[in-house]
């Protein structure tokens, strides 16, 4: 046990790992600060570079982007009322009013301390909760895994229940994408339409890179997302004396970190909900709730702690069940599987050094992101002035060359462009694109577990109802569908009368 922890710490402190996590954090902060780009684009653009790397270094690089993105997103939210990442919308409620009062440094201190504290609290919860959940998951067979996957899918679909049929349509499309190519169990080619390249299937990397990287840049080409002219920031670095003001709210910080982690743990719920719930909880607990929305550092701190706790929370189902909670952790699952590592209950036993490296790296990423932003606050804030069209075309070139580099196949680059067009359409229509990615990622897991379960039951689907855990998960999935729909219907009736 202790030797694994020490080995993990040593692996974390190697020059390669430190360089990867610092670079990833730097990229994450930059893409987080740039509205319309976000950590997902940063991660998918860097994904092709990870193939030549050792898995722990690759994970540190991408986790740096994941966490750094949430750190960076708060900066334009406070300075320009433009959230860098969607969840930083809640930070604007108090951050921008503080900036208008000339207290941008107070708001930034609170946001940075919140991001840092939320991240650290969530890593602690991850370290203690992952082994417990892994212990429970060790008794899972194919029916339980299928039911857990189904539960995850239902959560994702119901998170966007205002677009229920569209979400289901995209989920189905993603699941179908996962069936293209040679079937692993029978070696039968499926849906290859006479194109040899399709026999290899639709690889997750070009699909993600196309949907998020190319798709988002095509949106950037036509829309000016940001007006950076009114940015107002005094000082090159963070005013560290203002941190003392923010430290008064340490209870809010811990509470928000816990809320964010547990919301991040649930698939499909997303960081906006984490940020919002943390903010609301802080408001309810505050002796001066009326200050919220008018410019209180506590509001910035709660919102940022909530959203920055999501990455570690999302790692819990990924590491213990092999089920990613959202698109960003789906990309991390891709890094695991490409390296022949399959997350699940045995991962913590089989790869203890890798897991410990991951924990230590997440701690260091939070520290690195905090100090990078604190020391280079003004240069980072200035990044928003880079013209969006230059960013868009540069990302296109790096994405396409990167995707070709993974397998040196031009087909992958063509696939990324096709997925980019689909991504653009879905972004323009405002459909829940995350459902499509979840379908692609979970398709193989769901199909394999379904077929294995049916084999165990000699083709009888009642096997899912005869095992307590799988039955419990299926009932929970059914309740997740029925209860929100009934509540919505009741609300609609109440508002009609």
């Amino acid at each position: 046990m202790l030797e694994n922890v020490i080995a993990g710490l040593q692996a974390t402190l190697t020059a390669g790992n430190l360089a990867a996590l610092m670079f990833g954090t730097l990229v994450g902060i930059i893409v987080g600060i740039l509205p319309g780009i976000g950590p997902m684009v940063g991660m998918v653009v860097l994904l092709p570079f990870t193939f030549a790397l050792h898995p722990d270094i690759a994970l540190s690089l991408l986790l740096g982007v994941f966490c750094g993105g949430y750190f960076g997103g708060g900066i334009p939210a406070i300075l320009m009322r433009t959230p860098g990442v969607p969840s930083s919308l809640i930070t604007t409620f108090d951050g921008f009013p503080l900036t208008q009062k000339g207290e941008a440094q107070t708001a930034l201190s609170a946001a940075l301390l919140g991001s840092f504290g939320g991240g650290i609290v969530s890593v602690f919860i991850l370290v203690f909760l992952a082994p417990l959940l892994s212990h429970v998951a060790a008794s899972f067979g194919p029916p339980e895994y299928f039911a857990a996957g189904l539960f995850g899918v239902v959560l994702v679909v119901m998170a966007n229940r205002q677009q229920l049929s569209r979400g289901l349509l995209l989920l189905g499309l993603g699941l179908w994408f996962s069936t293209v190519g040679i079937d692993g169990a029978t070696l039968c080619p499926r849906f290859w339409f006479g194109t040899l390249s399709l026999q290899n299937g639709l690889d997750l990397v070009p699909v993600c890179l196309g949907l998020f990287g190319i798709g988002q840049t095509l949106v950037l080409v036509e829309r000016k997302i940001l007006q950076a002219d009114g940015m107002n920031l005094t000082g090159r670095t963070l005013d560290f004396s203002k941190l003392l003001v923010a430290m008064r709210y340490w209870k809010t910080l811990i509470r928000s970190g816990v809320i964010g982690t547990f919301i991040g743990l649930l698939p499909g719920t997303g960081s906006i909900l984490a940020s919002f719930m943390s903010y609301e909880a802080a408001k309810r607990a505050s002796p001066r709730p009326d200050d919220f929305g008018r410019g209180t550092p506590e509001g910035c701190l709660a919102a940022e702690a909530g959203n920055n706790a999501v990455p570690a929370g999302a790692m819990i189902p990924l590491l213990t069940l092999g089920i990613p909670g959202e698109a960003l952790s789906a990309v991390l699952l891709g890094v695991f599987t490409i390296n022949g590592i399959y997350p699940g209950p045995l991962l913590l036993i089989k790869e203890p050094v890798l897991i410990n490296t991951l924990y230590f790296s997440m701690f260091l990423i939070n520290i690195a992101a905090f100090f990078m932003l604190a020391l280079w606050l003004r240069p980072f804030a200035m990044i928003v002035k880079v013209p969006h069209t230059i960013l868009a075309v540069t990302i296109m070139v790096v994405s396409l060359v990167g995707i070709y580099a993974v397998n040196t196949r031009i087909f992958d680059a063509v696939l990324a462009v096709v997925m980019g067009v689909l991504g653009y359409i879905l972004l323009r229509l405002g459909w829940p694109i995350v459902n499509l990615v979840m379908g692609v990622v979970l398709g193989e897991i769901l199909e394999n577990r379904l077929r294995q379960s049916l084999s165990l039951g000699d083709g009888n689907p009642s096997i899912f109802l005869t095992r307590p855990i799988s039955l419990g998960l299926i009932i929970a999935s059914a309740l997740l569908i029925v209860i929100p729909l009934l509540v919505d219907r009741r609300r609609a009736r109440a508002s009609a009368t």
Binding site: F49, A52, R161, Q162, Q163, S165, R166, L168, L169, L171, G172, L173, L175, W176, T179, D183, A185, T186, C188, R190, F191, W192, F193, L218, V219, V221, E222, R223, P387, T389, I390, V393, T394, M396, V397, V398, L400, V401, G402, Y404, A405, I410, A413, V414, V417, G420, V421, Y424, I425, R428, L429, G430, W431, P432, G443, L450, R451, L454, S455, G459
Partner: protein, 164 residues
């Protein structure tokens, strides 16, 4: 942010119906697209899962098909007021040309040309930007992918023809 399904543009319904129709076409052609001659029973075979997900897609598209055939009174084709994506379409065409360019004239020239043409089209007129940005980005891409990562890029076809 979620968009309530009933209040949105008919473009949503058209796209959903298109996806549903495509799923139906694939479902019908599935027996020819999937080899089911193996000894496994249906529940172990390669067909069961695709059939389920295609059926899910068709079912999910039915509300949109219904609304498309019976449009509500306030239905319109207005999407978001951003107009036709002409600029995006042109940049996409440049991107497709860039893919052909990678094979035809190689990484260096095609990357530089794509960046130059795309930036010019997107309104950048400063000679410094138009020369420096494509050169810096292309230089970094070539340095990282070709020299640091050692990725193989095929010999440009133009060079092949020239050498022949």
């Amino acid at each position: 942010m979620a968009i309530p399904e009933q209040s949105a543009s008919r473009v949503h319904d058209l796209f959903a119906a298109f996806l549903g129709a495509a799923a139906a076409a694939v479902l019908i052609s599935t027996p020819w697209q999937v080899d089911t001659s193996g000894p496994d029973p249906f529940y172990k075979g390669p067909l069961i899962f695709p059939l389920l997900v295609l059926a899910l897609m068709i079912l999910a598209s039915l509300p949109a098909v219904w609304r498309l055939l019976n449009p509500p009174a306030n239905a319109s084709w207005h999407l978001d007021g951003a107009g036709l994506p002409v600029k995006t379409g042109v940049v996409l065409a440049f991107l497709v040309a860039y893919l052909f360019g990678l094979l035809l004239v190689g990484l260096e020239f095609s990357s530089w040309a794509f960046l130059l043409v795309a930036l010019f089209y997107l309104g950048h007129r400063s000679p410094l930007k138009l020369i420096l940005i494509p050169l810096i980005v292309t230089g970094l891409v070539v340095l990282i992918f070709k020299h640091v990562l050692g990725v193989f890029f095929p010999t440009p076809l133009v060079l092949d023809w020239f050498l022949e």
